[in-house]
Amino acid sequence: MSGREPAGAAGAVLSARALSKRFGERVALHDVSFDVRPGELVAVIGPNGAGKTTLLSVLAGVQAPTDGDVGGAAQRVGWVPQQPAVYTKLTVVENLALWARLERVSDPAATVRRMLEQTDLAERADEQVGRLSGGNRQRVNIAVGMLSQPAALLLDEPSAALDPIQRGRLWEFIEGLTAHGTCVMFSTHNVAEAERYAGRVLVLDEGELLFDGSPRTLMGQATGRGEAGDGIDFEEAFVEFLQARARA
């Protein structure tokens, strides 16, 4: 995806301005605004049906917003959907080569080699994707999303199908990307993962952005003790936060 106009705050790689998305009568997103800067790792959390996947797909350009704008400095935004979006009848290397050509990267062969190394898939390069494990399939899925070396990468539930070891390697890989300046936004149901890896969380509920800040700030708000929530874990604080908002 390319050709974005910088429409957000100065220095923002990705910006959302008053984003709304409706499916008939149902409101999936309502007036959502935020900016993401280079190297940020942002988690989008919320209960089921909160609008997390819709938000990422609108940011990725898969769906058009009903109202509002998506902008930012990123010329290319990588998108990794929750279900691996790769051809199961093709091998890993054939998939990467095809998507690299479709993405019109300047040197497809070199890009494929680099992605195979980065995602540790070199040994599986000639295996059909349909015969890979769920974890390896997800790695191919992420590799395809990274082919164009996007300034912003959007990952929808990236660790959902992975075992703990594969999850660890995934986060290592993602932290490597952010260290090189790529901003990464991911949605997850695993709030502990959000607390552990994300520098910033966006809390969505019923399409509304309820919170935008660090995990520690969220814990503080949930417990009413400022920055830190002593004696309570992040998941409990998150639930407490949602319940408090519901009561309000």
Binding site: M1, S57, G61, P81, A85, V86, Y87, L90, W99, L102
Partner: protein, 443 residues
Amino acid sequence: MRWLLGKDLLILRRSRVLVGVLVVYPIAIALLIGLAISRSPGKPKVAIVNLAPPGASVELGGSKVEVGRYYAQLFSEVQPLKVATRAQALEKVRSGEALAAVVIPANIAAKLSSVLNQGQLEVIYNGDALEQSLAQSKIQAAVAQANLELSEQIRQLASRGINLLLQGGDLSQLGINQNRLLGLEALPKVLGGLIARAPPGRDRQELVRIKELADFAASNLNISKDVLATIGQPVQVRSALVHGRRTPLNAFAVVVAVSISLMFVCVLLAAGGIALEREDNTLARLTRGLVSREGLVVEKLLLAGGCAFVLAFAMLAGIGAFVALEWSRIGLWLLALAAGALAFGAMGVAIGALAREVRAASLLAFLLSLPLAFLALVPAGAVAPALYDVIRGVSVVFPFKAALQALDNAVNGAEPAIAGSIAHLLALTLLFSVLARVGLRRA
């Protein structure tokens, strides 16, 4: 688009079972349909009980007509299983060995000879409705044909009798032992001589009245021979084709077989191809700026159309080795196949886009294609006029009939002209492409 085409061809190459089925299945179906159309139906097995004594004949005016010839005509339309008794015939029908039984009664010759009574055959049926209908129509047709033969023989006998009456002659040919008979046509001349020689008076007047009667009888009896012929076969068939060139049945079967193969391969490949993009979840990734939805529709259409075109042409060329086809018309063959492939491809893409899943798309493609092919082959007059209008309407909005007509014209020079069919197919290509694009709206 070329990368996607290359990808789809690679996937096809790896799906050997699918390719095998896509090639073998339509060819098998096509061969079956071709055989069904080009071969006449088999003769049903019918148990025949002939209770008439051997050599029985119908006697008319001293001449004999062999009843055996009547049976021979009857047997020629069925596979006769000759049995001795009615009970044996019934058993054959009950056991399913015969679809029907015909019992020829012992007195059939006597009844026919009496002229006052019709001969009666007893027919016993079994089997399902379709088998019953087949046996019934075969037997009825055979009885009608045999009746015609018999009545023709009787007419010929009657004509000979009338000729004797008119022209006179030897009555022994009618079985009458008498002197040479004076004919009705000669009678007025004889009477004229008698009248000339007779003195005026009451006798002469009577002779004049008799001569008038002889004149009238001779002229009217002459007409009666033609009347007999007309009664024996009131309607004769003389065939004429209103317009266009008649396609031989085997050449038409070739066209049907190739059209069906073109349709199956094209529709299934296109529907499966687009549905596979959804199943692999790649549609959303592709259409977020890498390939337009219109481009995707065109790519699948070209892929399916191209493969089906090659297969159909290979079939046509292969069949051409066995059936005489006009190779000088090859340009028109290619045009008709290409237009058909485009329309079927677009229909397949629309099915795939709407079904959203490979299995559902394949099933829908089958469910739509088979009845459409069947409906397009229903001839006018085979069903009620209102139903035929509905069938024609359905055939207009799907490509099979137009593709069949285009190919029939291209291969056999049949009516209607190819230009109209090609235009029809192109319009359907556009229509189904728009439908496919609408179906792809939601990735």
